[in-house]
């Protein structure tokens, strides 16, 4: 059913909060995502020509790097991009088959690979490039928020988190319920001023991006230490200084 579920107040909205201040662009999240999802709910995640020129494949997480700002205010920001599990995602409503759907219980946007006809319209409808076609199976694939981890009772509770969140070495990725204002992630978003991507398109992304923190103001320009004649204790050097500065 590709009509969107009705949003009720307090509805669970599972999603990610990504800290652009601490992300170092190491690609660990993308790598662990690929590893887990190659064998999980969405597996296999195919690669085309993996061992030759033109190697490419389906990934749910892509880490870009940008330069923002100019001169002394400019900075490099690493930017992981994945499905934002939007509240009003057009990728769901354009689907002609009902394969693309948004779960009412937690808001996760999923694809039913047994129904998908591979028309590709959902990928066109997504402004964020979150969906990639599995050209082997002819079906669309996307981030599942590791639905096969977060509800998986066969793994220790501490590991019931998306693979990208678990693996991040700088703790730049956080997972939780963004529909609950009291959750850790909601508090983090409130404290750090979490941002939506392309809010002007009106998709209402659930995932939030924490902006890089303001840099502390630069210290006063360091001064070169220039000794005065009185500072030079050695008489020979003092004489030389006198001669040379003449």
């Amino acid at each position: 059913m590709t009509c969107l579920p009705e949003i009720t107040p307090g509805q669970k909205k599972l999603g990610l909060v990504i800290d652009l201040d601490t992300c170092v662009g190491c690609q660990a999240c993308a790598t662990n995502c690929k590893e887990w999802n190659s064998s999980g709910h969405s597996g296999p995640l195919p690669d085309l020509k993996p061992y030759s020129a033109g190697a490419e494949g389906v990934w749910f997480n892509r880490v870009h790097s940008y330069e923002a700002g100019e001169g002394a205010d400019g900075r490099t920001v690493h930017f992981p991009r994945s499905c934002l599990h939007c509240e009003t995602p057009d990728c769901v409503t354009v689907c002609p088959t009902g394969a693309s759907y948004k779960r009412i219980e937690d808001g996760i946007v999923l694809v039913d690979h047994d129904i998908c006809i591979g028309c590709g319209l959902c990928a066109w409808a997504c402004p964020y490039g979150a969906r990639e076609m599995d050209e082997d199976e002819g079906v669309m694939k996307k981030c599942t928020l590791c639905i096969d981890r977060i509800y998986n009772e066969t793994i220790p509770e501490a590991q019931r988190q998306p693979a990208c969140v678990l693996t991040c070495p700088t703790n730049a990725r956080h997972f939780g319920d963004l529909g609950d204002p009291e959750s850790d992630v909601s508090k983090l978003v409130a404290a750090r001023g979490g941002q939506d991507l392309m809010p002007e398109l009106g998709y209402k992304p659930v995932n939030k991006y924490l902006p890089p923190r303001k840099r502390s103001s630069a210290a006063a320009t360091p001064q070169e230490a220039v000794p005065t004649a009185m500072d030079i204790k050695n008489p020979l050097l003092r004489w030389m200084d006198k001669v040379l500065t003449r």
């Binding site: 652009l20 923002a68 009902g98 002819g138 002007e200 890089p212």
Partner: protein, 310 residues
């Protein structure tokens, strides 16, 4: 956007077929086209051939064509699903139209023809709305896209109808329709191109990354060194100079030449009319193939903001 040949052919061929079906159903009762059942049957078969060839071609675009039947289910939200339903439903009055003609039931034929005309218009509208409803692609999410699809389907359908009418000895009415529709389509395309050339982008690299508060955002390192589905499907871009020359080809070959040939057919008539209108129909269809290819090639998707910053 990548101009997939299957989709370019589908929208052009089916558009012309539905246009032909529309005008046949509408103009036959008004006596503007030949009234013989043979004429209507030739037009109907031609329309259904074009429509069906287009629909089959559109299935080639699917990753899983054998599941295509599932696309009829989500008509409540999806224009693609609505298009599928409308396309299949339109076959019912269209085939009924043919059956009534063969059974010599003129009243029923007129009714079924009118219903088929409605179905044809609805189907083309649904096709257009698939594109017009996509917010990330500003050249498609544009108020002139859906009217353009209808007008171009009507124009190419009329070009075909005039060609077949000339076979039946009727030239004036359909040819004057070609001139009117062709001029309208030409003006619409010129206005559309002017608007998409000047329009503001729907989003920027700054809003796409939420980093605008720092300053201008420039891509530094891409996430992957090779291509991917997104870049092949959404990153396709045509050089501006090629777009300009292709636009000229569309304007001259697709619109101006068929209009002039229609004028020629009405003014000179006689033996000239049939070859002029037949050539005009071929030129119109070829021109629209180029127009539809450009429609894709000139469209840009917001995902490229992440890769190229524009």
């Amino acid at each position: 956007m990548n101009p997939a040949p299957s989709i370019v052919f589908f929208t052009t061929a089916s558009g012309a077929g539905y246009g032909l079906l529309f005008w046949l159903g509408l103009l036959r009762p008004l006596g503007i086209v030949p009234a013989t059942p043979a004429f209507a049957l030739v037009c109907l078969v031609l329309a259904l051939l074009l429509i069906t060839a287009g629909l089959v071609s559109s299935m080639l675009h699917l990753g899983n064509p054998t599941r295509a039947w599932r696309a009829f289910s989500q008509w409540r939200s999806s224009w693609l699903s609505r298009e599928g339903v409308a396309a299949v439903v339109t076959y019912v009055p269209a085939i009924g139209f043919g059956a009534a003609l063969l059974a010599d039931l003129p009243g029923l034929a007129t009714l079924a023809g009118l219903l088929a005309a409605v179905g044809a218009a609805v189907t083309v509208w649904c096709t257009a709305m698939i594109y017009a409803s996509l917010k990330p692609i500003r050249q498609w999410h544009h108020p002139l896209v859906a009217p353009g699809y209808l007008l171009l389907a009507g124009y190419s359908g009329m070009a075909l109808l005039a060609g077949v009418s000339a076979l039946g000895g009727v030239v004036g009415g359909p040819a004057s329709f070609i001139i009117t529709l062709g001029l309208a389509a030409l003006v619409l395309k010129l206005a559309y191109w002017r608007m998409i050339d000047g329009g503001d982008p729907v989003a920027t690299a700054e809003s796409a990354t939420s980093l605008g508060f720092i300053g201008k955002v420039r891509p530094l390192d891409p996430p992957h060194t090779e291509s991917n589905y997104l870049l092949r499907e959404m990153g396709f871009r045509i050089a501006r100079k090629h777009a300009a020359s292709l636009r000229t080809i569309v304007l001259v070959g697709g619109f101006a030449a068929p209009i002039l040939l229609a004028l020629l057919a009405t003014q000179i008539g006689g033996g000239v009319a049939l070859p002029a209108l037949a050539l005009g129909a071929l030129l119109a269809l070829a021109g629209l193939l180029v127009e539809r290819w450009l429609m894709f090639a000139e469209a840009t998707h917001t995902v490229t903001l992440y890769y190229s910053g524009r």
